[in-house]
């Protein structure tokens, strides 16, 4: 039975994380000698290269009604593909879209549901993070059908050549229950949850007027900016930048923490980053214990020089 992967896109191009999703679906399907089907819902001009990431089939429902995510409509669309192709396993991105449709899809498919998977299953056991990234949990689904969401940046997007046979489908969809009124994007081009590099700062910055050095470092690295909770709560930085146990949880390749002590609640949001750099003048800052690289120094001195060192490196 094939595995379905729901591709995420912005109407123009496929999101990078969806290549990981297709690659995961192909490798997951291969465990039982099966293939992966990539599903694209809504208008999309550039379908990218899903075949080379392992999509044996690509189903595109080119219906502009699907340009907004209505959970009931998305579920009906996926159910149509599942029924048509006899699929009982679906992998969605662990994203705002994936998490809004997964539960309804699981109920209608009489499937087990597990969010936040971060590795391929081994012998029918699925792994995800637990306790805000402080532990790992392994689950055995008890139903035949299974819906999962895949954590971004947990499984590499491997190139696995597949046929990529394109299929059009236009099943009848139920009426939408949600009506999109508007989408407001935040300033800055890199959404924090999707950024592969993040520069974050906290109370050590002393005040919002000092954030220029943080933003310059982020710009030099093509990184998103983030902050600790106290800084968001006092309004120095916008709420969406708050990373931590009650903020956003991120998994970038690089997380640079500037003037952040590293309280447990903050670490909970960033402890799955691949590389953590901590810049702090306090040798007792707990963050150093969670870091890969540490710089004990005055951030007002260190951060501009780090920015310059990166500029120099890029030019060499």
């Amino acid at each position: 039975m094939p595995v379905i992967a729901l591709i995420e896109h912005d109407g123009t191009a496929v999101k990078k994380a969806s290549n990981e999703l297709v690659s995961y679906a192909a490798r997951w399907a291969a465990q039982s000698g099966d293939h992966a089907i990539a599903v694209i819902l809504g208008t999309l001009s550039d379908k990218g290269d899903l075949a080379s990431y392992g999509a044996a089939k690509i189903v595109h429902m080119d219906d502009s009604a699907l340009d907004q995510v209505d959970p009931q409509q998305y579920v009906a669309a996926l159910r149509a593909v599942m029924t048509e192709h006899g699929a009982e396993k679906v992998v969605l991105a662990h994203s705002s879209t994936g998490k809004s449709i997964s539960g309804i899809l699981a109920v209608q498919s009489d499937a087990a549901l597990i969010h936040g998977i971060n590795a391929l299953p081994e012998e029918g056991i699925y792994r995800r993070g637990a306790y805000s990234g402080k532990a790992l949990a392994y689950y055995k689904p008890e139903a035949g059908s299974l819906i999962i969401t895949l954590m971004g940046n947990s499984v590499p997007a491997e190139k696995i050549d597949a046929a990529g046979e394109t299929i059009s489908m236009s099943p009848s969809l139920p009426a939408a229950r949600l009506t999109r009124v508007e989408v407001k994007t935040v300033d800055g081009d890199i959404p924090l949850p999707e950024a592969s590099k993040v520069v974050s700062a906290g109370r050590g910055m002393k005040g919002p007027e000092n954030w220029g050095i943080v933003e310059e470092l982020a710009a030099e690295l093509h990184a998103a900016t983030a902050c600790s909770r106290p800084v968001a709560d006092t309004g120095w930085r916008p709420h969406h930048e708050h990373v931590g146990q009650t903020g956003v949880a991120i998994r970038p390749n690089l997380y640079i923490a500037i003037g952040i002590s590293g309280a447990i609640q903050h670490l909970a949001g960033v402890n799955n980053s691949k590389t953590i750099v901590v810049i702090n003048k306090d040798p007792e800052a707990p963050f150093f214990k969670a870091a890969d690289y540490g710089v004990l120094g005055d951030l007002f001195d260190v951060v501009p020089r780090l920015t310059q060192a990166i500029r120099d490196y890029k030019q060499s």
Partner: protein, 246 residues
């Protein structure tokens, strides 16, 4: 307008994470439990604000054992009118959603709130399952809610910003930061909570669809490499060549 707030209990944010020797369960010895922050600060408070504006009642429901009662009473102290506890351990999301759905079906809740996720399992699964079981529209990660008669206009968190959607009630909404401001229970609330009903319900014995195989702690990170603050060139080299992070 009547609303239902689904509340979970979680270890407090600084609780030590340890498991039984066979790794199959969380070691809760000595651990202090709290109401899941997203449920308490955002879901519950927004429901109470709706009651204060439009009348009606706020009910809370929890799936769990008697030891949760003290936390459920806190919800009453903050301002809920009545509480229900399904007397069974919360095993996994499908089972919890099924118990809540069995309770909520046929009751006139215009909005069913949950928190966006719990801070221990980080699942964010119950709300969507609940919407599926009750065949209700679902708006996840709401950070703003305006009501106009039977229409809700909801801002929700998406990657890179906020999406605003309008939906006809009844609806399931999962609450994210920004939906309301945290409230502390005052003395009056605490006193009044003692007289509010907390009804214990028998479970429907909904089965779980997922079983825990084991928990484990991740491998300990090897020590930090300290870099001289005067040598940022070296840090960049390490990031580029050793960590391959640039």
């Amino acid at each position: 307008m009547n609303t239902l707030v689904c509340i979970s209990t979680t270890p407090e944010t600084t609780a030590k994470i340890a498991f039984s020797s066979d790794g199959t369960s969380y070691n809760s010895e000595g651990v202090n439990y709290i109401m899941n922050p997203y449920d308490e600060w955002y879901a519950l408070v927004r429901a109470i604000e709706i009651k204060e504006a439009d009348g009606g009642e706020v009910h809370v429901i929890h799936v769990g054992p008697g030891s949760s009662d003290i936390i459920i009473r806190k919800a009453l102290a903050i301002g809920a009118d009545a509480a229900y506890r399904v007397d069974t351990e919360a095993v996994e999301a499908y089972q919890v959603a099924a118990e809540i759905a069995a309770f909520a079906k046929g009751r006139d809740y215009q909005i069913i709130f949950t928190g966006k996720e719990t801070i221990d399992h980080n699942g964010a699964e119950v709300a969507g399952l609940l919407a599926g079981m009750l065949d209700l529209p679902f708006v996840s990660f709401a950070n703003d809610l305006k009501l106009d008669g039977s229409t809700a206009t909801v801002g929700r968190e998406i990657e890179g910003g906020t999406e605003v959607v309008s939906v006809e009630l009844p609806v399931v909404i999962s609450a994210a930061k920004g939906l309301a401001e945290q409230r502390i229970a005052n003395m009056r609330g605490i006193m009044m909570a003692k007289r509010k009903p907390l009804e214990v319900l028998q479970p429907t014995a909904a089965s779980a669809k997922v079983k825990v195989s084991k928990f484990e702690l991740p491998p300990v990170k090897s020590g930090v490499t300290m870099v001289d603050p005067d040598n940022m060139k070296e840090l960049v080299r390490l990031l580029a060549e050793e960590a391959k992070a640039l």
